[in-house]
Subunit: 703 residues, 2 copies
C-alpha cells in the first residue's frame, strides 16, 4: 500500500499555526513606541474588539437559530446530523480567523510606526509579518477544521451506518461540504458588517472632517478618526480573514465533493480527495518559504516595494507549481496527470487576473490616468470614466476565467467523463488559492500600514516616518485590489463547482433536474439570479450611506457642543462614534445577509430545483462581473485621486482634486463593502441550496 | 375554408400609414410662428438632417459590406439568397422610420411653441400628434415590410424548390427572421450614434454654458445650443424610432419562427404565424382609437397630463386585450386558447414594468426623493444613492418578466410541448408591443416638447408659453422612462425567443447543441455573454465623454475668439458645433456596434455553438438587468435634480442643486446612450448568430 499523503494536511495545519505563533511572538517583542502611540493603538484595539464582540454576539443568535433549523431538518431525515455541528465549526473557525488576524493587526500598527522611525525595511517587516500571521492562521485553521472533520467522519462511518445511496467517502464529503455553509455565513456577516462599518466611518469622517471642517485626514481633532482606524481593522482585516477562510475551505470541500463523482467508479475516491488537502499543505510550506523573500532597501520606490512582495508570492507559486505535479502523480498516476494541468491553469489564471487588476487600477497605466484627467471637467466626468474603466476591466478576468474553465475541464478529461472535467474546474480554484498563506499576507499588511500612518499622524511623528508608512500604505491599495481579484476569480470557479455539487446532491437524493437553457424554470432562475447581486449591492451601498449619515450628524454635534475641539484643547468623544457606527453596521448587515440565505430556499419552494440551479448560475455570472467592476472602479478612483494629489492636474486642493475626492468617496462602498461581499454571496447561496436540497425536493410547489 | 385573417396585416399597415399622413397634414397646416421661431426651427431641422444624412451614408457602407458577406454565404449554400435582400429592406425601413419620425418632430417643435401661446391643450395636441405620426409610421412600415416579404416568399416557394429540411412556412419564416438582423443593425447604429450625439451635445453645452459661463439652458448665446436641440431629435426621436421598429418586427418574426416548430405537426403553422401579424394589425386600430382619448384642460397639473396620455394607452390596451381573444380563438380554436393568456401576460407585464419605472424614477415617490435628499451631503452621496436606486429597481421588472415567462410558457402548453411554451413566450412580447403605435406616441412627443421649450427660450417668448412647454417636457421624462422599460422588457422576451429560434435553426441545419448549464462551453458562453453588456456600456460611455470633450473645446474657443457673443452682439457658429459632434458620433458608434456583430461569430468559430447559445443567454440576462439599472438611475437622477430645482433642499443655485446636476450629468449617458442600446445589442447578437449559424457549424474550431 502507498503511503497515505492525507496525513500531511494536519501536519501542514500545525506547521502554519506554529509559524504564525512564531511570527506573532517576534512582532510582540518589538516596542509599541511612546505613550501617545500606545494610547492611540489601545483606543483602536478596544474599538475593534468591541465591534467584533458585538458582531459575534449578533451572529451567534443567527447561528443558534440556524442550528435549530438544521437540527429539525436532520431529525426529519433531510440531513445527516453531523451537518449541524459542521455548520457551527465552520462558522466558529471563520470568525476565529478574523479575530486572530485582527488582534495581531491592531497590535502591529503602532509597532510599525515605531519601526518606521528606523527604516522602511523594519516597518515593512512588522506590517508584512502581521499580514503573514493572518494568512497562516487562515490556512492553518482551515486545514485543521478540514482534517478534524475528515478523520472524525472517517472513523465514524467505518463503524456506523452510511446514509442511503452513498459510500463512505461520499458520506464524508457531503457532510464536509455543508460546513462550508457555516464558514460562508460567518464570512458574509463579517464582510458586510465590517464593510459597512469601515466605509461608513471613512466616508463620515471625510465628509465632515475634510470637506466641512477642512482638517486633514487622520487629524486627532476629528471625533470619527478612531472609528475610521477601527474600520480598517474590522472590515479590511477581520472581514477579509473570515472571507478568505471561507474561500479556502470552500474550494477544497467543493473539490472533494466532486472527486467522488469523478473518481468513485475507478476506486480512486480517496485519492481524489487527498489531492486538494495535500496541495493545501504544500501551499503552507511554500508560503512560509515565500515570506523569507520579502525584504526591501531603504531608498525603495513603490516599484521596488511591490517587487519585494511579488518575490514572495512568485517563489511560493513556483514551489506549488512544481510540487503539485508529484502530488497528482503520486495519487492518481500519469494517466490522470491532466488534473495537474488544471491546477496550473488555476494558478496561471490567478496571476493573470492580478496583472489585469494592476493595469486597470494603478496610476502607472492609462485607465486610471484617464480618470484623473477627467477631473479637469468636474466630478461628473470622473464618475462616468471611473464606471467605464470598471466595466471595461471585467473583460480580461472573465476571458481568463473562461479559458481556465475550458482548459481545466478538458485537460482533466471532461471530454470523456464530464465529472472529471468538473473536478478539474474545482481543483483549478484550489490551485489559485493554494498560496493563500502568502497572498493574503501581502493583502492584510495594507490596513496595518494604513493604521500605522494614522498613528504617526495623530502622534505628530517626524515627516520621514509618515513618509515611510505612506509608501507602505500606497502599495497596500494595489495589493488589496489584487487580493480582491483573486478572491472573486476563485469564487467564480468554486461557485461552479458548488453548483455541480448541488446537482450531484440532487441526484443522490433521487431528485430530477433539468439544466437546459430552454427550460423556462432554469431561465427564470438565471434572470432572478442575475438580478440578485445588483439588489444586494444596492442594499449594502444604501446601508453605508445611512450609517455614514449617522456619523456625520454625531461629528457635527461634537464640533458644536464640545468647546475647544478645534484648538486641540478638548478631546473629542471617539468612543461614541465607534459605538454609533457599530450599532448601525450591526443593524444594516442583517437584511442583505439574510437575503443570501432566504433567496435560494424561497426560489426552491416556489419554482423548484431547476430554478434554483439557474439562479445560482445567474448569480455567479452577474456577481462575478459586477464584483470585478466595483472593485476595479473603486481601486482606480482611489488611485486617480492619489495621482492628482501627487501634483498632477492641479494637485492637492485644486478643483480637479475635489472632483477626484468625489470619485474616491463613491468608490469606497464599491470596493470595500459591496464588491467584496459578492464573492461570498454567490458561494453561500450555493451552500444553502445544497444543505436544503432534500427539504426543497420534498416541499417545492412546482415539482 | 376559413377566411384568411393574414390579409388584415397589409390593411393594418396601410391604415396606420394613412392615419399618419392625415395627422402630419394636420400638424403642417398650423403656423410655425414668428420669423425668429422659424429660423431656430430651421437650424435644428437642418442640423438634424445633416446628421442623419451623414449617419446613413456611413451605415450604407456597413450595409454594403454585409450585403457582400451575406451574398458570399448565400452563394456557398449557407443561406437562402433572399436573406441578403431581406437584410437590406429591414435596415432600410428601420432607418426610414427614424427619418420620417424625426422629420415630423422637427417640423412640430416650433408649431408646438406657437400653439402654446394659445393653450396647453393645443400645444399637447401638436406635440402628441407628432409622436403619434412616429408611432404609426413605425408600426405601419413594420407591417408593410412583413406583409410584402410574407406574400413574396409565399408566392415564390409555391412554385420553386424549398430548402432541404423545411416546409414552405418554415422556409418563409426563417428568411423573415433574418431581415430582423437588418433592422437591428440599423437600429443599433442609430441608437448608439444618436445617443452619443445627443448626450455629448447636452453634456458639452452644459459643462461650458451652465457651469463655466453661467448662462441658462437653451440660451442662444451658447454655441452648442442648436447641437443640443438637434441631439434630442437624432437620439431620442430618430434613434428611438429605428430601435422600436426593430423591437416590433423582431418580436413578430421571432414568434413566427417559433410557430412552425410548435404548431407544424398539427398542421397549424400558417395559423400560428397569422396570429402575431393580425394582433399587430389590431394594435394599429386600437392605437388610432387611443389617440382620440388624449386631450387635456388648460389648468392641468402634471398628474392630469399624465392621466391624459394614460387614457390613450389604456383604452388601446383594453381593446387589444379583448380582440386578441377572438384572434386566437378564430385561428387556433379554444383548445389552444392558452396562447391568448400568453398575450395577456405580456400586456400585463408591460403595464407593471411601467408602474415600477414610474415608482423608481418619479419625484413623487421615495426613491427619487432619497436621491434628492442625498444632495445635502454632496455629489458623492447623490451618485451612490442613484446607483443604489437603479440597482434596486431591477428587482421588480426582473420578477415580473420571470413570472410572465413562466405564465406564458405553461399557459400556452409548454408542459406538454416545450415548443408551444416557447411560442407562448414569444407571443407575450408581441402582446407587450402590440399597442406600440400609441405607447411610442406618448414617448416620442417628449423631445418635441423639449425642443419647443428650447425654441421658446431662444426666441424670448412670454413666461406662460415656456411654462406650458415645460409642463409637457417634464411629463416627457416620465413617459420616456416608461417607454424604455417597455423596450427592454419586450427585448428580454424576444431575445429568449430568438435564442430558441437559434436552437431550432441549428437543428434544421443538422447541428447538435448542448444547452446544459453543466456543459463548460455553455458556461463560458454565459460568463462572456454576461460581461459583454458591461464592456459595451463602457465603450459607449467613454465615447460620450470624448465627444463631449470636443464640444467643450470648441465652445470655449468660440467664447474666446468670437467677440461679442456674451452681449448678444455676435452670433455664435452653431453649425460648427453640430458638425463636430456629428463627426465624433459617427466615429464613435462604429466600434461598439461592430462588437455586437463580431462577438457571436468569433465565439462560434473559437468555441462552437454551445458557447454561442450560452453567450446569447448571458448577454440577455445581464443586459436586461444592466439596462434597467442604467435607465432608472438616469431617470431618477434627472428627476431628483428637477425636484431640487422646484425649491426642495435648497433649490436652484444651492450646493445641493450643484450636487444634483452632477447626478443628472452622470445619468445622461446612462439613460440615453448606453442603457437603451443594450436592448438592441442582445437581439442583434441573436440575429447574427442565426444568420451565421450554418457558417459557424461548418467552420468552428471546437466541434
Amino acid at each position: 500500500m502507498q503511503f497515505d499523503l492525507l496525513i500531511l494536511a494536519p501536519f501542514g495545519s500545525i506547521l502554519a499555526l506554529l509559524f504564525a505563533v512564531y511570527l506573532a511572538a517576534k512582532i510582540l517583542r518589538k516596542s509599541e513606541g511612546t505613550e501617545d502611540m500606545v494610547r492611540i493603538a489601545d483606543a483602536v484595539r478596544e474599538g475593534a474588539h468591541a465591534y467584533l464582540r458585538r458582531q459575534y454576539a449578533g451572529v451567534a443568535i443567527f447561528f443558534g437559530v440556524m442550528f435549530i433549523v438544521l437540527m429539525v431538518l436532520a431529525l426529519n431525515g433531510h440531513l445527516p446530523i453531523f451537518v449541524t455541528f459542521a455548520f457551527l465549526t465552520g462558522g466558529f473557525f471563520s470568525g476565529l480567523s478574523g479575530y486572530i488576524g485582527m488582534t495581531i493587526a491592531t497590535k502591529s500598527s503602532a509597532r510599525t510606526t515605531n519601526a518606521a522611525k528606523n527604516s522602511l525595511n523594519s516597518a515593512l517587516q512588522i506590517a508584512f509579518s502581521s499580514g503573514a500571521v493572518m494568512g497562516l492562521v487562515v490556512v492553518g485553521l482551515g486545514l485543521l477544521d478540514l482534517s478534524v472533520w475528515y478523520y472524525l467522519l472517517n472513523w465514524y462511518y467505518s463503524s456506523h451506518h452510511i446514509p442511503h445511496g452513498m459510500d463512505k467517502i461520499s458520506a464524508i464529503t457531503s457532510t464536509m461540504l455543508c460546513f462550508g455553509m457555516g464558514a460562508s455565513s460567518q464570512a458574509l456577516f463579517a464582510r458586510v458588517g465590517g464593510g459597512i462599518f469601515t466605509k461608513a466611518a471613512d466616508v463620515g469622517a471625510d465628509l465632515v472632517g475634510k470637506v466641512e471642517a477642512g482638517i486633514p485626514e487622520d487629524d486627532p481633532r476629528n471625533p470619527a478618526v478612531i472609528a475610521d482606524n477601527v474600520g480598517d481593522n474590522v472590515g479590511d482585516v477581520a472581514g477579509m480573514g473570515a472571507d478568505l477562510y471561507e474561500s479556502y475551505v470552500g474550494s477544497i470541500v467543493a473539490t472533494m465533493a466532486l472527486g467522488v463523482a469523478a473518481f468513485g467508479k475507478l476506486g480512486l475516491s480517496l485519492k481524489s480527495i487527498t489531492i486538494p488537502m495535500v496541495m493545501a499543505a504544500v501551499g503552507v510550506v511554500s508560503s512560509i518559504i515565500g515570506t523569507f523573500f520579502v525584504r526591501t532597501q531603504e531608498k525603495a520606490e513603490q516599484g521596488a516595494l511591490l517587487t519585494a512582495l511579488r518575490r514572495g508570492v512568485i517563489s511560493s507559486s513556483i514551489i506549488v507549481a512544481i510540487v503539485s505535479f508529484f502530488v497528482v502523480e503520486y495519487n492518481l498516476g500519469l494517466n490522470y496527470i491532466g488534473v495537474y494541468y488544471a491546477v496550473l491553469s488555476g494558478l496561471t489564471a490567478g496571476v493573470l487576473i492580478g496583472f489585469s487588476t494592476e493595469f486597470f487600477t494603478s496610476s502607472k497605466y492609462k485607465p486610471t490616468k484617464s480618470i484623473a484627467e477627467a477631473s479637469l471637467t468636474g466630478p461628473a466626468t470622473v464618475i462616468i470614466s471611473g464606471i467605464a474603466v470598471g466595466m471595461l476591466s471585467t473583460s480580461l478576468p472573465v476571458i481568463v476565467v473562461a479559458i481556465a474553465i475550458l482548459a481545466s475541464y478538458y485537460l482533466s478529461g471532461g471530454a470523456g467523463d464530464p465529472n472529471m472535467g468538473l473536478y478539474g474546474v474545482a481543483i483549478s480554484a484550489v490551485g489559485m488559492l493554494s498560496t493563500l498563506g502568502i497572498t493574503l499576507a501581502t493583502d492584510a499588511y495594507g490596513p496595518v500600514a494604513d493604521n500605522a500612518g494614522g498613528n504617526a499622524e495623530m502622534t505628530h511623528q517626524p515627516k520621514e516616518v509618515r513618509h515611510r508608512t505612506d509608501a507602505l500604505d500606497a502599495l497596500g491599495n494595489t495589493t488589496a485590489a489584487t487580493g480582491k481579484g483573486f478572491a472573486i476569480g476563485s469564487a467564480a470557479l468554486t461557485a461552479l463547482a458548488l453548483i455541480a455539487a448541488y446537482r450531484d446532491q440532487v441526484y443522490i437524493l433521487g431528485g430530477k433536474i433539468n439544466l437546459s437553457l430552454m427550460n423556462p424554470k432554469t431561465l427564470i432562475g438565471l434572470f432572478i439570479g442575475g438580478m440578485l447581486p445588483f439588489v444586494f449591492c444596492s442594499m449594502t451601498m444604501k446601508a453605508v450611506g445611512r450609517a455614514a449619515g449617522a456619523i456625520v450628524v454625531e461629528v457635527r454635534r461634537q464640533f458644536k457642543e464640545i468647546v475647544g475641539i478645534m484648538d486641540g484643547k478638548a478631546k473629542p468623544d471617539y468612543a461614541r462614534c465607534v459605538k454609533i457606527v457599530t450599532a448601525a453596521a450591526q443593524k444594516e448587515m442583517i437584511l442583505p445577509s439574510l437575503m443570501a440565505i432566504i433567496a435560494p430556499i424561497l426560489m426552491g419552494i416556489l419554482a423548484g430545483i431547476d430554478s434554483v440551479s439557474g439562479m445560482l448560475t445567474g448569480a455567479t455570472v452577474s456577481g462575478f462581473v459586477l464584483a470585478i467592476m466595483m472593485a476595479n472602479s473603486g481601486g482606480a478612483w482611489d488611485n486617480a485621486k492619489k495621482y492628482i494629489e501627487e501634483g498632477n492636474f492641479g494637485g492637492k486642493g485644486s478643483a480637479p482634486h475635489k472632483a477626484g475626492i468625489v470619485g474616491d468617496t463613491v468608490g469606497d462602498p464599491f470596493k470595500d463593502t459591496s464588491g467584496p461581499s459578492l464573492n461570498i454571496l454567490i458561494k453561500l447561496m450555493s451552500m444553502v441550496s445544497i444543505v436544503f436540497a432534500s427539504f426543497i425536493i420534498s416541499y417545492t410547489l412546482m415539482k
